[in-house]
Symmetry: C2
Subunit: 642 residues, 2 copies
């Protein structure tokens, strides 16, 4: 017990100690113990991938000493409760090295070695890449360059909950080519996140050849330093050097640290070590595997003391705050009067600010458009929970994933068009099933003169494609506020689409909304058709209603504010009662309101007539564009009377 | 005529001179002339945005000297023919400064000043952000961080066509936060693109506040230098400094140059210069505008000689090559035998390599998965037209946009799941309507053990949402080769989805395919249903057919290899003849085959029964997953017999 002032055995989760100023005592026996952990991690990674018949044992082997040092010396966490809120966090950004993560938790004792042999099986949660089906995984990784963004979110959460847990993230050298890594680099420095420590496993080899900077350690170090990180270059197989680097990281104040570890892919396995052609290949059972195992086992050193379990979580949080269960916020009674003219994007900002009053889990993230999305209203009241990501949408969504995984309720927002920039992150957030609440403003051609680059016309398609995504599209300020409150506490990922133009308030303060609901705004027993809109087209439908009334035609008008889930039953009832269904949307033809409604009513033989944007649009006034692209009241009247 | 050895008037497009070694002669009268151009660009930008009532005059004002120096001193191009293949290229990555681009072309003489006053009008091609509706715009910009990727593609094209045209790209400081900028930074250095010159207009202010590094010029320079660029820091309003920087860039060999220009937003307009709160605001007509114009006009200097038009394109290309019209390639007669087992991803690589033999416009781009997508087959034969982007999907698609805009036919490919990373780039490629031909491999749960992070289950939704995107999904090697050839020469953006598992070859060498076609594989007069598959599910449908035959039930089986455009007529005929339509797809419920078919047949009252992946999947063998998620032959049989 040279290193730990208090042995693990004496701990309970309620009696933690703080080790920030402890001195490293890297005795040779301690180093030997960690080297043996590394060797066992290699053996387990090889065994599990060979049993699975696929996987990435050589990408595990390069990281073995790093992972051993993290799990058995550096990190402070409760090995029996990976979700303790004060645990140090570990994110495996190079998710294809999943077997070494699983092996580490087996070495810790949370998994058995039999568990490891279920790797990649359909009946096992030890998937090919880590997912939060496992208690010790915060966010799914496997799409490279995302883990470091999530780790940044985890570090932001530590600041929010006033915990001094640290966040460690292991990257591959190959993924350093992803722009999102550099978005995270700049964001972490902007936030001064000294609790964030990255380790890049520079094994020099990508999937199909050398990685972009191969083993040029200076190419990595100069970049991280230029971005403002404390960068330490080490031999990633030298346990003492690794421990020293972590010590340096802990002592570094005001900036994050990147440990750049020069390693060899397949380290310790002579047939693969440092060689191309071994990426993502399990060793074949039989002589090949036997030889690898024999070689690795021969690397085990005589052990004077066993490797040590962690001391428990890094520290207690501020105990002056009572440990109350999280409190929900509320938007109260929004102060709108029927007929007020308010953009839904503006109501979004107002509601978010109010929700943040009552719930300190709410965090807002922006991509330098806070004065367009109105998230600035949240910033004005809750500056400490507002994150400015500048024009970097990937890290905005990626860090929101990490925040959500640690208990925050993040609301990243930007122009809906620019959420396309982060679609891979949104995809992974859905695989992670985290409580990320996105808002996209400036939907559709109704933004007007800025032109197509700023118009979201595929966002509903993109969001609805994810099976566990909630998709909301309010048309007025009142419904925006109500839906925002519902969205905040509805489990899982959610998206709200807001619009640029001001629209009249049509709902009173007592109107009730539900995830999966809709509103029938006009209805009679003699309706000739049901016209279904969302957002600004609800008002085109209402205008059409008035015009049609003048010529003696009644139509039913629906505000489809919840696209996913969707109220199929009401839609079907309306289809049966009015025989005709017309959808009208400020969105391309595919994946939006038309498809959503068709999916509900087609089963009963009803046809959906669709008004939508069918070509790449151009600049013009909102009114001109709404009309030119066929979604104005005039087109609705024409469709009804056709 | 101090600068130009040959005056513009003496030129024709066929008598160019080469100026690489000329010396700058920056007389005071020449500098004064350029300063006056800059002032006129400011005036025109202010006038056009005030006339439009919206736009970004202050973002134009900061860049005025830079643009003046580029268009009237640095760049070599034919002012009467912006599309001359040897023209130097200019990409306005900060697309919101569009008015200054239009003003520059008015100053050149390609537009009139009356044209400028049509800015942002529905009847004008001078849109809020530049699009290729204009002859002098290569790719649409306005989603920040993309223009530099396209510029890289333009520079790659220069190398391909052996032209020494140079490519200039103007970035904003705000967009430097986008990770894609750093992807472009590393890719340009990897390719040693000395013909690429970036200029960052560091005006210090973003939309909602200071830009990420404000006016800290060293923060920019250290990063660009760390990424391997030659970086020059200048006062961006000092014409002599700008010209010197361009001269340095031209003399810099083996690496690209970034000119970091410290500027003031709203320069020259005292009410706005260097002040927050003026982003994206036109000056109000009346006293405000009048004051601004008066102030700008007072900055015009006495002019001894006018600003000079460019000398024409930089140089002639290698005239030893006959100026033959572009030749199309062909896949010939693919050497597959019926029943061969070949993955469509492998056939993709083989076909692309053959196509490249006959057409030197074909370029392949990879994101370090060439041995999975089989684009390595192209690299083996055409190393000089293979671009390795490492794990950086945004710059892969972005540079493909630039390549396509300059006449190449780029085929970027990666795992289909990772094309989600570049969705914003794909969106802008569609707005640009460029000939970019994407391929995504490893579609769906049929990839097996790697798990959901590697499975594309929303790619069809994402691609079909774009109205001008062609979407193809071959099921066997023969159709892959034929469709790849068709896709290469079909105008506009296109996407091919390929699969990981080997599938049997079912088409012979004489089988004909068409964009917008389908194949009816089984058909009889007594079919109880039409089963429509794509990719691997075609084979599940064929298996179901065999099983159903045994119990006396016939079904029609369709290979829907073209999803967009789609053969509605044939689908409708089959619906009418068999009464029932069942779709089966390795894709989520929304936006894929089911929605595509429903869109065709719903109009006639037919209902589509859908088999698809309805939840986030997990790891397992391909067979297990295809069955677990409801898209195997067993489920088809159950659906038919239900």
């Amino acid at each position: 017990m040279l290193y730990h002032a208090v042995p693990w055995e004496g701990h309970t989760t309620n009696s933690f100690c703080y080790y920030a100023s402890r001195m490293p005592v890297q005795s040779s026996s301690r180093v030997a113990a960690l080297r043996n952990v590394a060797t066992r991690l290699r053996i387990d990674s090889v065994l599990s991938t060979s049993e699975a018949g696929s996987g990435h044992p050589t990408s595990c082997a390069s990281a073995a000493e790093i992972v051993a040092a993290l799990f058995f010396s550096e990190m402070r966490y409760d090995p029996r409760n990976p979700q303790n809120p004060d645990n140090d966090r570990f994110v495996l950004s190079k998710g294809h090295a999943a077997p070494i993560l699983y092996s580490a938790w087996a070495e810790v004792g949370l998994l058995t070695r039999d568990d490891l042999l279920t790797l990649r099986r359909i009946d096992s949660d030890l998937e090919g890449h880590p997912t939060p089906r496992l208690s010790f995984v915060d966010v799914a990784t496997g799409s490279l360059g995302q883990g470091i963004c999530a780790a940044l979110g985890s570090a932001l959460n530590a600041r929010r909950i006033k915990s001094d847990y640290r966040t460690y993230v292991l990257l591959g050298d190959g993924e350093s080519a992803e722009g999102s890594v550099w978005e995270a680099a700049e964001a972490a420095v902007h936030e001064g996140l000294e609790s964030l420590c990255g380790i890049t496993d520079v094994n020099g080899l990508g999937q199909s050849g050398p990685s972009i900077w191969n083993h040029d350690m200076d190419a990595y170090a100069s970049k991280w330093r230029a971005f403002g990180w404390h960068a330490v270059v080490i031999d990633g197989h030298d346990v003492t050097a690794i421990l020293d680097a972590f010590e340096q990281a802990r002592r570094t104040k005001g900036q994050p640290t990147m440990v750049l570890a020069r390693t060899l892919k397949g380290k310790g396995i002579s047939i693969a070590e440092g060689k191309s052609g071994w990426h993502g290949k399990a060793f074949k059972k039989g002589p090949e595997l036997d030889g690898v195992l024999k070689e690795l086992q021969s690397q085990l050193l005589p052990e004077e003391e066993p490797a040590q379990l962690p001391d428990g979580p890094r520290t207690q949080r501020d105990r002056s705050r009572p440990a109350a269960p999280p409190k929900k916020g509320t938007v109260g009674t929004p102060a709108y009067t029927l007929g007020d003219s308010v953009a839904t994007r503006e109501a979004y900002g107002a509601a978010l600010a109010k929700l943040g009053d009552g719930d300190d889990r709410i965090v807002a993230l922006d991509g330098d458009v806070k004065n367009s999305t109105f998230s600035e209203k949240f910033e004005e009241k809750h500056r400490d929970r507002f994150v400015q990501n500048f024009i970097a949408e990937q890290v905005m969504i990626g860090s929101a994933m990490g925040l959500a995984a640690r208990g925050s309720i993040p609301f990243p927002s930007t122009f809906a068009a620019f959420l396309t920039r982060a679609y891979d992150f949104i995809r992974m957030a859905c695989i992670s099933n985290v409580n990320i609440k996105m808002a996209g403003s400036h939907a559709g051609v109704s933004i007007g003169e800025d032109g197509p680059s700023q118009m979201a016309l595929e966002d509903l398609a993109m969001m609805r494609a994810q099976p566990n995504m909630t998709v909301l599209y309010p048309c007025d300020a009142m419904s925006t506020e109500r839906l925002l409150e519902l969205m905040a506490y509805h489990p899982g990922p959610a998206y709200m689409r807001t619009s640029r133009p001001k629209t009249p308030v049509i709902y009173g303060p007592d109107e009730k909304f539900a995830i999966g609901g809709l509103k029938i705004l006009r209805e009679s027993t003699k309706d000739a058709a049901t016209v279904i809109g969302g957002g600004i087209t609800v008002f085109e439908a209402l205008k059409a209603y008035d015009q049609l009334q003048k010529i003696g035609i009644s139509v039913r008008v629906i505000d489809l504010y919840s696209l996913q889930p969707i109220d199929s039953r009401s839609l079907l009832r309306c289809a049966r009662e009015t025989k005709r269904i017309i959808t009208v949307e400020d969105h391309y033809a595919t994946g939006g309101i038309g498809d959503a409604v068709a999916g509900c009513v087609a089963g009963s033989g009803f046809v959906v007539e669709r008004l939508c944007v069918r070509e790449i649009p151009r600049s013009g006034t909102p009114e001109q564009l709404v009309d030119r692209y066929g979604i104005s009241s005039r087109h609705i009247v024409a469709a009804v009377t056709a």
